[in-house]
Amino acid sequence: MVLLLQYTIIFASVLCLVALGGCFSEHSGVINLGLEGIMVMGALGGAVTMFLLPSGTSKIVIVLATTLFAILVGMIYSCLLGVACINFKADQTLIGTAMNLLATAAATVFVKAMNTSINPDNVSSSIQYIQEKKAFLKYFGGFEFNWFMVMAVVMLVLSWFLLYKTKFGLRLMACGENPQAADSVGINVYKMRWAGVLISGFLGGLGGIVYITAGVSEWKFEMGVAGFGFLALAVMIFGQWKPTNIALAALLFGLFRALSNVYTGIPFLKAMNLPSTVYNMLPYIISIIVLAFTSKNSRAPKAEGIPYDKGQR
């Protein structure tokens, strides 16, 4: 049971962070289907940092450096979305998909090249970080506490504050709802959309490193992040683009994800003898059903997905 709780919280942290990232991007008016790719790049940034840090580095430095680089790489990668979709008005679905494919391919190429350059016989796409990962963990009895859980909560509160209590949030949402209106009162729509996309890179990158350190101590980058970015997208929709609802949705979907990992340890679930794939499927099925019943009066930002063009008024 403790294991279930631990997995639920850590997976929920990932989903919450990434979904919040998507939330910022969409509130600014840009659909971010590339979250999966941003996560991969964030994970890469963090994993490489951990790998390269000399052994014996103090825990706090490991935590800070890893987080920082994951975020940085995530943000840099999100620029691909910004340039294409904000400045060049490209199709947001196409670009998002390309970013997901590109991230996995680029991360694999990078890690393989890195591994081969260190040891010519090593052609794997994995990075190990057993020692460094320990810096993030603290044990309370059987419960493995991870500093990232705190970060997720902090980010959640910050996001809520930023969106609803600051002028930045007000302006950001105006750009996603009615960019022409925002423009008419002197708000630079392009800048705000860039801000939304960069924040989604920030949170997506952070989510990426949290995900690959959640249960394992090495990551094979050929796998990408196994659809977690898309699951986060489902969380965001299920949470109706609102931070508090997103947190709750993340907990629910995190629970399902955790169940697929640990259900064999829970007697009555084991007795039901459902294959783990069922637990993997459930969040997506729930999302579709929820969408089917809520989409008619969805709270999705009205102008999302539509490139903003100053000339068209």
């Binding site: 494919l101 052609v123 898309f230 794939t277 993997n280």
Partner: protein, 384 residues
């Protein structure tokens, strides 16, 4: 107005030009990455990726490798056609991988568990894909769910469902996570095509079949009443409704057809015996996503996708031939994903070309030549 226009003003020529531009830029970036990894073999490696089968030493080996590439081009082309067809109706069928999975699931099950004839397996795969596509369509038509979102969700649902179904004890090999090899009359026949490709059994009539589908889709879209309706719906849903077209029904039918195409695509791969399904795979097959690349690289034209599919598959296979102890084979995935990314800029490229033309023609840009994005305020937004 019968005056002969220069070639550069021809929209089809512009499409080809921009696609080539995307390819060249993609290859250039790939080459730079290769240079960064190891400068000494980079030239050789990019040559290998480009030449693919041509880089083999003997004629027989070349033909065999070409056969393999063609065998995988067929499913890719089917996925691309699925996406292309839906895109023409204004729908982004990002759910093609899910429909592809459904096709693989039922096609393989029928072939392995029931030993059905290949044609029946193919048909079942098409039906399965169509059903999944129709779900997306119905959700869009009746529940206002964006097809991109439902498509993504269905991709994952179908992945896990397929893994579950194909893990059954009479379809999966006991000792491995792979499905039992397809054999006998369940295999798509070669009809002698294998002899042309150094007896490569995976070269089947699936390849000409896919090309026939491409031509068929092109004819349906441009020459028929059905295509007229679908394209009108894609351009302007409201006008289609005004003209009495059943737009909801059209959405569902379109995605069902798209689904069927993707489902057949899966059959075209798994029923040739080229590959077995791994029931432990945790990511959506990239075939459907690469279909997006082929669609856009093919200028959103069914005939263009034939060449684009072959190109994408060829560089992917070429990537597998480079020296793996120096360069990762995923370099070709990298190149093709960069190409997809650049395809997002196609409209801009075309706009730039047209701008350049009108500047050369002097007299300022002519409204008729400039694509949709231009014409500031004067046409619609100006005075009301």
């Amino acid at each position: 107005m019968k005056k002969k226009e220069p070639l550069i003003k021809n929209p089809s020529f512009q499409s080809i030009l921009t696609s080539l531009l995307c390819i060249i830029l993609g290859l250039l970036i790939g080459y730079i990455v290769l240079l960064l990894i190891n400068p000494s073999g980079a030239g050789e490696a990019i040559k290998t990726i480009l030449l693919n089968f041509l880089s083999r030493s003997s004629h027989a080996a070349r033909m065999k490798a070409l056969g393999n590439t063609l065998a995988k081009t067929a499913p890719l082309l089917m996925c691309a056609l699925s996406i292309c067809f839906c895109y023409k109706v204004g729908l982004f069928n990002i759910g093609a991988p899910g429909q592809y999975e459904a096709g693989a699931c039922i096609g393989l099950y029928a072939a392995i568990a029931w030993h059905c004839n290949w044609a029946i397996c193919l048909l079942l795969a098409a039906v399965a894909g169509a059903v999944v596509g129709a779900i997306s369509g119905a959700l869009k038509a009746y529940r206002n769910v964006n097809e991109v979102i439902s498509g993504i969700m269905l991709n994952w649902i179908m992945l896990y469902l397929t893994n579950m179904v194909l893990s059954g004890k009479n379809v999966k090999e006991v000792a491995s996570p792979y499905t039992i090899k397809v054999s006998g009359k369940s295999l798509i026949p070669s009809a002698g095509l294998n002899n042309l490709f150094a007896n490569n059994r995976t070269v089947t009539i699936a390849i000409p079949l896919a090309i026939i589908f491409a031509i068929l889709i092109w004819m349906i879209l441009t020459k028929t009443k059905f295509g007229y309706e679908l394209r009108a719906t894609g351009f302007n849903k409201e006008a289609a409704k005004y003209a009495g077209m059943k737009e909801k029904q059209n959405i569902i039918v379109t995605l069902a057809i798209g689904g069927a195409l993707a489902g057949i695509g899966a059959a075209c791969l798994y029923l040739t015996g080229y590959q077995q399904w791994s029931t432990t795979q945790t990511s959506v097959p990239t075939m459907g996503f690469n279909g997006i690349a082929a669609t856009f690289l093919g200028g959103l034209h069914p005939i263009g996708t034939i060449f684009a599919s072959f190109f994408i598959q060829s560089i992917t296979d070429g990537g597998a031939l480079i020296d793996k102890s120096v360069y990762p084979s995923q370099i070709s995935d990298l190149i093709s994903s960069i190409i997809i990314y650049l395809c997002g800029f196609v409209l801009f490229f075309k706009f730039a070309i047209n701008n350049w033309i009108s500047k050369k023609d002097k007299g300022g840009p002519n409204v008729n030549d400039v694509p949709v994005t231009d014409a500031p305020a004067k046409s619609e937004g100006g005075e009301k």
